[in-house]
């Protein structure tokens, strides 16, 4: 095979920089694998390692510091057939640590070369996350305060199925790089390098010494048996292939007549667990079933099953402008939490507005008509209150009709849930027929 080195741009590093050895070895490894330039993308980021992509006659992407794996991941997911090689330095390793960990966990088929020369060469030899505490750098004493990072240990702990530590002088460098690139999965290869222009000036180290220290720390051989598993991309595509196509949202057929002829605002005040959001949705679907335009805004805290739950619904025969509520004509007060959230509204309610409130919920003073509902006497659970209140209104033809409510329910629920909702409506209707006095009406 022919070399994939860029004949127009020969490798250019500081004299004696071992990065050049890695460039040559990578080229030899790509040749050994019989890869053409079009089959390979070299992705790099900032620092001296970021020069790599320009030296190769392959696809190339050079991006922001520490982010090399983010681009490589998108590229590989979009073009699974491409051989993607990511190159970073010990600086990028520090900045992009979260990406390294995530790539180890994911196991997408990318080869990551970490060119570790123990310092930030390009910016003047500052300490990096891998600088030994005893190293002398332009960062003064700062590196003495921190533990150097052993990326091989971290990568194994994070789930990388291929982890290997080499030096730029390793005899089998070409063969080991070829093996890492051939591996189907995320392969982390750390390559210890010398930086003669910066770190090497004050921290003399021979290739032999480097090799000895690397060997002491271990991680020869690549394969990490405990992390062996299916490659992310093929796994992703296998799971995705089993998914059904997502259906378009179901259209709401107009099947009945509305009872409102103007913009009508409904406020539902309740607590988490009372299906307030769903009640708003059913009211909207009921409105749409009668040909109305609708909108719904919800308000609830970040906690689940605790705190207030508020739904604001607008029904209008005309297109809806403002989606907030200016003057609700109907307020359902189903729990104290919701009422507390909208206390300010009650004094502003108009005299022709209706407040339908659970008997135990205290209300602020209001000019609106207040009707109380004894949900306990009606044998209703908290989660049934909203639907029960709407059923009552529907029977009276206020804001919605029974036909609308039934259409809304049929659109929202299926099977057993729908049957239960219908049964609840039927029971309430029977109960009211027998004991109308249970609907006490007070101010």
């Amino acid at each position: 095979m022919t070399s994939l080195l860029n004949s127009q741009r020969p490798p250019l590093f500081c004299p004696g920089c071992s990065h050049e050895r890695v460039v040559q070895a990578l080229d030899a490894a790509l040749q050994r694998l019989s890869l053409a330039g079009e089959q390979v993308a070299i992705v790099s980021d900032i620092g001296c390692s970021g020069l790599f992509d320009t030296f190769f006659h392959t696809h190339a992407l050079h991006g922001l510091h520490g982010r090399v794996l983010t681009y490589a991941t998108g590229l590989k997911m979009a073009r699974p057939e491409l051989t993607v090689i990511a190159v970073m330095g010990d600086g990028g390793l520090g900045i992009g640590g979260a990406h390294v960990l995530s790539c180890c966990r994911r196991n997408l088929d990318i080869t990551l070369l970490v060119l570790n020369n123990f310092n930030y060469g390009m910016t003047g030899g500052q300490c990096s996350p891998t600088t030994p505490a005893a190293g002398r750098t332009s960062s003064g004493y700062l590196n003495q305060l921190e533990m150097p990072l052993d990326i091989c240990r971290v990568a194994v702990a994070a789930g990388a199925p291929w982890v290997e530590r080499l030096t730029a002088f390793s005899g089998g460098l070409v063969e080991r790089l070829a093996a890492a690139i051939s591996f189907s999965g995320f392969a982390v290869t750390e390559i210890w390098s010398v930086c003669p222009g910066r770190y090497g000036k004050n921290n003399r180290s021979s290739p032999q010494q480097l090799a000895r220290e690397a060997e002491e720390l271990g991680f020869a051989g690549g394969l990490v048996a405990e992390n062996a598993r299916e490659e992310y991309g093929s796994h992703y595509r296998r799971l995705a292939a089993e998914l059904p196509l997502s259906a378009a949202p179901a259209a709401v057929a107009v099947v009945c007549q509305p009872v409102v002829s103007d913009r009508t605002e409904v406020l539902i005040l309740g607590a988490a667990g009372q299906y307030i959001n769903t009640a708003g949705e059913i009211l909207c679907l009921a409105g749409m079933s009668a040909g109305l335009q609708v909108s719904q805004k919800n308000d609830y805290p970040i906690t689940v099953l605790r705190g207030h739950s508020v739904a604001e619904v607008v029904l209008d025969p005309a297109p809806i402008g403002y989606t907030g509520l200016t003057s609700p004509s109907l307020v359902l007060c189903l729990a104290a939490e919701g009422v507390a959230k909208r206390r300010d509204l009650f004094p502003r309610l108009q005299g022709d507005a209706l407040v339908l409130a659970a008997s135990e919920v205290e209300l602020p003073p209001t000019a609106a008509e207040v009707r109380r509902l004894d949900f306990a006497a009606l044998r209703l659970k908290p989660g049934q209150r909203a639907l029960a209140a709407m059923a009552l209104l529907a029977e009276e033809g206020r804001v919605l009709t029974v036909e609308m409510l039934q259409a809304g329910l049929a659109h929202r629920y299926r099977g057993e849930t729908l049957a239960e909702a219908r049964e609840l409506l039927a029971r309430l209707s029977r109960d009211r027929g027998q004991a109308p006095s249970q609907r006490s009406s007070t101010r």
């Binding site: 982010r67 983010t70 679907l285």
Partner: protein, 374 residues
């Protein structure tokens, strides 16, 4: 006219699918999260990819990699995520990488209020990148607009090879409403111009007479090259002043024709002959403004309404046309005064007054009516 009941976030996801989006990556953040959830339902069964990055920086980085592979890509977040996107946004601008970015704005500053709306990121979207080169920002008004403008956003990203923002708002993204998607007029789909065989293959060299270079995908049959560094047409880093100047001038100018040729109606105008005042809004505020306009006209006010949908590049010609001869321009915003800066510089002798509020609540019609009467 069968209607469906969806919120703005779902409308964006469905618009993206229609536009040919096949790659999405995002990190969960209220109020944008449900866009990711919808994309996860929609894309993988279509052979597309939907990923959840380890953070926002990764998510947009995934998108940049996929976009460079030739795929239409989108990400979605809110203000705090846009902050984290910043370095990658600069890359998308400088590297001319087509990408749609949804900002479902929430109340800031900083982590602010997850469940409160605002339009507080408008200038941030325009300027929140190193280098300050132009971007495209579209502002939807409602769920139907989210659907339509998302298709436009992809078209613009493809045609102009740049990041395109959809400046949504919690009050649009999470508000569900009745929409008839079938009645919404969508543009024909655009695709980035492929690099013809006769082209030099230099990845940033436009064809003769063009401002936007044809696209060579990474992983394609011809070698391609992308870099976040200052580069010449060959895609290699350069320090040559003349090359840099040429490149920056082209990036600065390439959106100049968008107002006329972008295929999008930049401004919705409700104007009557003889109107003296002009109310100017964008985003969700337009909904209340329309109601306020009707009220004011009923009272006899001679007032027009402009709803700006293309916030950036500012549709200067159209705005100037509408401003000419007006007695007063009233700008109303759901922030502390951002887009009004653009209006002031275009208004010439016409006085501009600004009203707005940023407290997490929608501006309502009575408030806007009172401001205009003031």
């Amino acid at each position: 006219m069968p209607q469906i009941f969806i919120d703005g976030n779902e409308a964006i996801a469905r618009g993206a699918l229609h536009a040919g989006c096949r790659f999405f990556a995002g990190y969960p953040i209220t109020p944008a999260t449900t866009i990711s959830q919808h994309m996860l339902q929609l894309l993988p069964p279509q052979g597309g990819v939907c990923l959840q990055g380890e953070d926002e920086i990764a998510s947009i980085g995934f998108c940049l990699g996929a976009a460079m592979a030739g795929v239409k890509a989108m990400t979605a977040t809110s203000g705090p995520g846009i902050s984290l996107y910043s370095e990658q946004l600069s890359f998308a601008i400088g590297g001319e990488i087509p990408l749609v970015i949804v900002d479902v704005q929430r109340l800031g500053p900083s982590t602010g209020s997850a469940t409160k709306g605002a339009d507080g990121d408008i200038q941030f979207l325009r300027w929140g990148n190193s280098g300050g080169l132009p971007v495209i920002v579209l502002a939807p008004v409602d769920a139907g607009d989210c659907y339509r403008l998302t298709v436009h956003a992809f078209n613009l990203a493809e045609r102009y090879r740049c990041p395109v923002f959809i400046a949504s708002n919690k009050e649009i993204g999470l508000t569900r409403e009745s929409v008839d998607l079938d009645t919404i007029a969508l543009p024909p789909l655009a695709y980035r111009e492929e690099c013809p065989p006769a082209h030099s293959g230099r990845p940033f060299e436009p064809l003769a007479g063009k401002m936007v270079p044809p696209f060579l995908p990474l992983g394609g049959a011809r070698l391609s090259r992308q870099t976040s560094s200052t580069h010449g047409e060959d895609g290699y880093i350069t320090t040559d002043t003349a090359t840099i100047a040429r490149s920056i001038a082209r990036l600065q100018a390439k959106l100049n024709t968008l107002e006329e040729e972008g295929g999008i109606d930049p401004v919705e105008a409700d104007c009557r002959p003889g109107d003296r005042d002009l109310l100017l809004v964008y985003g969700v505020t337009a909904r209340a403004a329309r109601t306020a306009l009707a009220q004011l006209r009923q009272e006899g006010a001679r007032i027009s309404l402009l709803v700006v949908r293309l916030l950036y590049p500012v549709p200067e010609a159209r705005l100037r046309h509408h401003f000419a001869g007006k007695r007063r321009i009233v700008v109303v915003e759901m922030n502390t005064g951002q887009y009004v800066r653009e209006i002031e510089r275009l208004a010439g002798p016409v006085p501009v007054v600004w009203f707005g509020r940023m407290d997490g609540e929608l501006l309502d019609p009575p408030t806007i009516t009172a401001w205009v009467r003031a």
